[in-house]
């Protein structure tokens, strides 16, 4: 029983950054902006959260700085794709490379290291063997992460803003004719995706009490995979995040036994995404205006 609880707790812990990033990514993608950028937003968020915590000594201020860093990158992406009509894929890749480069540069500048920062104040991680609830509440970003999916689902399906986001992502011309500013909605959606993905990155840095180079380690792409596998629905994307996290947990727990090589477990999200795109488990249909002006 306690083994099952430990498994659940670890799964939730691993899932939190995916949930934040996927929740943000769903918003941007439903507004018609491709979310290749989640990886960069997470990395930027992790770095600025660490920096904020390092300078202020407070993980809360760190988390806020993380959000600010993510929003800054997101606005850069928004200006380039919305104002300058840059190709969303190209701009997204540039943002990711920029995040890698800038975090490396300032890591070297501030901490004179090419691998990691000093230890900073963070949300101390409870031990995974403790009580489930206690362990999870220890880090306030964990309950936030679990709540963010229902919040985004509510935002998307139950508020005027959500209606506009969906309209802009499916049929921008129609949205324009009824007086919705496509640009403004997209700016807000991309900024929100930057804030949320950055919180996922902040969680990583504040959980480990430091920033390490390349700390997002492909998690942004796993979140994108979850979005596609969840067919652009926040709840289904959230379930996909939990599923991917459970597979990862299983792999960690089985590491000693070498039942399945870890590399094959790592492939799971990516293989499933392709399977979903090919339509073997219900066709994944993207928002109609995704990637278009």
């Amino acid at each position: 029983m306690s083994l099952a609880l430990a498994f659940l707790a670890q799964t939730l812990r691993i899932a939190v950054p995916y949930l934040f990033a996927a929740a943000g990514g769903v918003l941007a993608e439903r507004a018609g902006i491709i979310s290749l950028t989640l990886e960069g937003f997470m990395l930027g968020g992790a770095f600025s959260a660490m920096l904020g915590s390092y300078w202020s000594g407070s993980p809360w201020i760190g988390a806020l700085c993380g959000i600010a860093g993510g929003v800054a990158l997101a606005l850069l992406h928004a200006v380039s794709t919305i104002r300058f009509k840059a190709d969303q894929v190209v701009s997204g890749i540039a943002i990711n490379l920029l995040a890698v480069g800038l975090t490396r540069y300032f890591l070297k500048l501030v901490f004179d290291s090419s691998s990691n920062s000093l230890r900073v104040a963070g949300f101390s991680a409870g031990t995974s063997t403790g009580s489930l609830i206690g362990g999870l509440l220890h880090n306030p970003l964990i309950p936030f992460g679990l709540l963010i999916i229902p919040v985004v689902a509510w935002l998307l399906y139950r508020t005027p803003f959500g209606l506009r986001v969906r309209a802009v992502g499916e049929h921008p011309e129609a949205a324009t004719t009824v007086g919705v500013s496509v640009k403004r909605v997209r700016y807000v959606a991309v900024a929100l995706s930057g804030a949320l993905a950055a919180l996922g990155g902040a969680y990583l840095a504040l959980d480990q009490h430091q920033f390490t180079d390349g700390m997002s380690a492909g998690r942004g792409f796993i979140a994108l995979a979850a979005i596609i596998f969840g067919r652009w629905d926040p709840v289904r994307a959230g379930i996909a995040c939990l599923f991917f996290a459970a597979a990862e947990t299983l792999q960690i727990q089985l590491q000693g036994m070498q039942a399945i090589p870890s590399q094959f477990v790592q492939m799971i999200p990516y293989v499933l995404t392709i399977v979903a795109l090919v339509g073997l488990v219900g066709r994944a249909m993207p928002p109609a205006a995704l990637g278009r002006e």
Binding site: G101, Q266, M267, T273
Partner: protein, 376 residues
């Protein structure tokens, strides 16, 4: 001239039928040159400005830093050799991305294809008996690299053509799948204990350029750069001088029109991405046959994304790609040269800046040109 050529020309220059054809065409040529050359210049300018800011942030003088960068790259034989080595890989991934773009497809999977090509070249080199003559071993290694990269590229092509699965997503996902598979192959079967690489190949090694000229001594530049330059030439010929290349470009410009003209769009997609993967795979010989003579995990890291930068700045033109590869290789090697004054990580950031500025200035320049044309 086939009907197809005529259709495409009418589409590109709707006014060629009019009497003012000559005037319009010369103006068109000028605009196209501007459209091709101006965005890279803007990108260069923006990256210099950002670079200056990053340099000033550490209290150094930009002029001194750039001078050091030039001295460490083009100013001495070793540095230039390293630039050539890095150029070699980037030519391949740049050409790979370019072929995709010409067909209207985005190959983000060049990194996985490059790694697969390197692994195949290493496997060929390991399978051949010791002492196999290079005349046989090198072509076999090259073919292995082409085939493995092509196979990885074929998959997203087929997924797009048959199921409409978007290649941006499938190539990203395949990157992770291929790299994880190769990592398993190395760790479970091939590695030298305590390392992340395979044993050295038995045959098929390419000579270093230092054999030709001692000045390159110590640098990784090797004979594969000649093979990659040939690949660029052949690709240019294929794209602009053959029917297959014409079809590929027609599909990239107007898939619907190409379909109407009788081109099989799906098959062209598959051909383009297979060719793209093969070119990326070919890049694997630079490290495996030319430099270390074994496959090592992570040798391809970052080369795929940089290939996108190279293709964009090189405007998907083989000659442009070679020049852009030289530029990005200089930047990357230059980072090492300036490390004493400015963290070398600065160039990582600048690569992102160049791509972002390219992405934003291409449509902007096009829009301004169209506006200017409208006013006239």
């Amino acid at each position: 001239m086939s009907d197809l050529d005529a259709t495409a020309m009418r589409e590109e220059n709707p006014s060629t039928v009019s009497e003012t054809m000559v005037i319009v065409r010369s103006r068109d040529v000028r605009n196209r040159v501007i459209e091709a050359v101006l965005p890279p210049l803007v990108a260069l300018l923006v990256s210099i400005v950002v670079g200056d800011l990053l340099i000033l942030a550490v209290g150094q003088s930009p002029g001194a830093v750039y001078r050091l960068m030039l001295e460490g790259t083009w100013g001495n034989a070793y540095g230039f050799g390293q630039v050539l080595y890095k150029t070699t890989t980037l030519i391949c991934t740049g050409l790979a991305v370019s072929v995709g773009l010409r067909a209207g497809l985005f190959n983000i999977g060049a990194e996985g294809q490059l790694a697969a090509g390197g692994m195949a070249a290493a496997l060929v080199g390991l399978a051949l008996p010791v002492g196999t003559t290079a005349v046989i071993a090198v072509p076999l290694g090259v073919l292995g690299a082409l085939a493995a990269g092509g196979a990885v590229g074929f998959v997203p092509g087929a997924l797009r053509a048959n199921w409409g699965a978007h290649e941006v997503i499938t190539t990203i996902m395949l990157n992770f799948i291929v790299l994880a598979f190769l990592s398993w192959l190395v760790s479970a079967h091939l590695r030298v204990p305590e390392t992340l690489h395979t044993p050295p190949i038995h045959a098929g090694a390419l000579p270093r350029l230092s054999v030709l000229w001692n000045g390159f001594h110590g640098s990784a530049a090797n004979g594969s750069i000649l093979i990659e330059l040939c690949a660029a030439l052949i690709l240019g010929w294929y794209l602009f001088r053959t029917r297959g290349g014409f079809e590929l470009r027609a599909v990239g410009l107007q898939p619907d029109a190409a379909e109407n003209a009788g081109i099989n769009v799906g098959r062209t997609w598959i051909r383009a991405l297979t060719l793209s993967g093969a070119l990326a795979g070919l890049g694997g010989i630079n490290f495996v046959l030319g430099y270390e003579r074994y496959y090592e995990e992570g040798f391809a890291t970052g080369a795929g994304f940089l290939g996108i930068a190279v293709a964009l700045v090189g405007r998907s033109n083989p000659l442009g790609v070679v020049l852009a590869a030289l530029f990005f290789a200089t930047l990357s090697q230059g980072g090492l040269a300036i490390n004493a004054l400015v963290p070398k990580q600065m160039v990582d950031a600048l690569q992102g800046v160049v791509i972002l500025a390219m992405a934003a200035s291409v449509p902007e320049v096009r829009r301004l040109l169209a506006q200017a044309r409208g006013k006239r």
